[in-house]
Symmetry: C2
Subunit: 333 residues, 2 copies
């Protein structure tokens, strides 16, 4: 895999899968697929979590792993403004895994299913040399309600829910500074890592306020913004000082001098916040409604530009620099 | 995993996932899940294929692997008498896999998708220490048309499509007698292993003829029959001499004296033929229709009994013996 990045490989696969497909409204390449389903749209998404790649056994409990596996799939549906309905779970297990571990994993899956009001309706078990957890979630959205990655236009405002970088901070803490795990800020960071929140209600609310494009931040702001811009055929200008860095990262940086909070917020990944583009006049009322309904902050990060203007980061010195799409690539390194 | 069999673990998981679930008609434990979807039923199924467990890289081309991964999921839908619609593919890849290998894999997935008239609408890529391919298929069926594993009743006839044991014979040939791979019978066996056929039309036809229960033979006749009997709360009596052993197995047994054709047919797995229970008067017309429409044979294997009578194999000596559910268990050994 050294010669192609994950995104390049995905592009090659999409080309191979292209062509007429009856009933498919949005195929591969968005947060989830949209398919015709009677008078509504069906929404389908799948995610694979691999031990040693997407999680480390020593750093997560099976309960948290199950919870997170389902939540991150629901997040893909949230980014389409859809409601989750059903889930399927395929599990590959080494032979030495204890049955009690598997039961705890399913306990976490069940807790997340109850929280997001969806039902786990099926699955598959296989043996494997490392733990592999593959979750598929289906959902639905009204015909006009779905928001893809592809609708952003020049002049739209670029907004993000919540705060960024906490999950990456939690991973750094768990690996390099476990003795601070029980501090208040340490607990915040680990909670962000192990129990991510899918912004389902927020996604639907942003759609109601006219969101033109939406993506969930699974691989980091800079990489996921680049994906949204590519799909929409636009550029963007992000104001560095506006990026909502999670406050606990300041504490982490004090404890671990090598940590750069802004970098974690821009490239860390696994925040599962929603990055959305909105008409300028919708930003203030959408932010007020998200605060009232969910206690969730909405931050205006900058603006959508023409494609030719590129993707820029406006620094505190007033200068624009190219914003390189750096983040989580499964096949990098 | 040494203390629990795959089936025992599945039972434990099902218990954990039980409870009220709005919109779920059939949850975990059947070939696929059935969910309410407007005026029809949605059908959902997922399967994980793991390198070294479900396939061996040296014995299969990436194209065949992709084709098979999709076909075996479609087979689960066929066993519900459903029509496939959409598929999702999650893929875990070691870093040293060539991009061309991945492209060929997707070529096989695409070929099967075209053959079964479904669209691959999404997926996920991850790195992993062995190749893991997790496919989810959705489909649909009319509200009254679905056939589960749970409807068999005493007095029903037990029938099976096609011939059995060829896929297991193909695996034996590939491993132990590769020099016969290009004989006519060797090619038949390898084709059964590498390019399984999902009996979609046959499943719908059997449903039209009043099939009371149906399961696809993924893990072997003896194990899958035991599952159907457990779900239906019945016993069964299989006439040994009626089992449709694939004719090429006689050639394989000549070439490899240790091979027992009847055992491969009963315990081999991966045939993906449909095992169905039918009212006695439906067997002859259903068999005639399957022959006319699809060129597929339907064989009457025996009868469904009361649960207390157990699952029996009637030998050529006229005596009944208990039919032990032996077959493919991912965690056995």
């Amino acid at each position: 895999m050294s010669r192609l990045s994950e995104d390049e490989l995905i592009q090659a696969i999409r080309k191979l899968l292209s062509g007429q497909a009856p009933g498919v409204v949005v195929g591969p390449g968005d947060d989830a697929a949209l398919v015709e389903m009677g008078d509504r749209l069906g929404v389908l998404s799948t995610d694979m979590l691999v031990e040693g790649v997407d999680f480390e056994l020593g750093l997560t409990s099976p309960h948290d792993l199950g919870y997170k596996a389902l939540a991150v799939n629901v997040s893909d549906l949230a980014a389409m403004a859809a409601s989750p309905r059903f889930a399927l779970v395929a599990l590959g297990l080494p032979k030495d895994v204890e049955p009690s571990w598997v039961v705890e994993l399913y306990g976490g899956l069940r807790e997340a299913a109850d929280e997001y009001a969806l039902s786990i309706v099926g699955g598959d078990l296989s043996s494997a040399s490392q733990i592999v957890l593959s979750v598929t979630v289906t959902g639905e959205v009204s015909n006009r309600g779905a928001v893809t990655r592809a609708g952003a236009g020049p002049g739209d405002r670029l907004c993000v829910t919540g705060a960024l970088g906490a999950a990456a901070g939690g991973l750094t803490l768990a690996r390099e500074r476990p003795r601070d795990a029980s501090t208040a800020w340490g607990r915040d960071l680990l909670l962000a890592l192990n129990r991510p929140v899918a912004r389902v209600g927020e996604g639907q609310t942003l759609a109601q306020f006219g969101a033109t494009a939406m993506i969930d931040l699974s691989d980091g702001l800079s990489l996921d913004l680049a994906r949204m811009c590519r799909e929409s055929g636009v550029g963007a200008r992000v104001v560095s000082a506006s990026i909502p860095i999670h406050p606990a990262l300041a504490e982490l940086a004090r404890a671990l001098p090598g940590v750069e909070p802004l970098r974690l917020a821009m490239e860390g990944g696994e925040d599962f916040e929603l990055l959305a583009t909105l008409p300028e006049e919708s930003v203030a009322p959408a932010a007020a409604t998200l605060g009232e309904r969910f206690g969730t902050r909405l931050t205006d990060l900058g603006e959508i530009l023409q494609a030719g203007e590129g993707i820029l980061l406006a620094g505190s010195d007033g200068r624009d620099r190219p914003l390189e799409p750096r983040g989580w690539d499964h096949f990098a390194g």
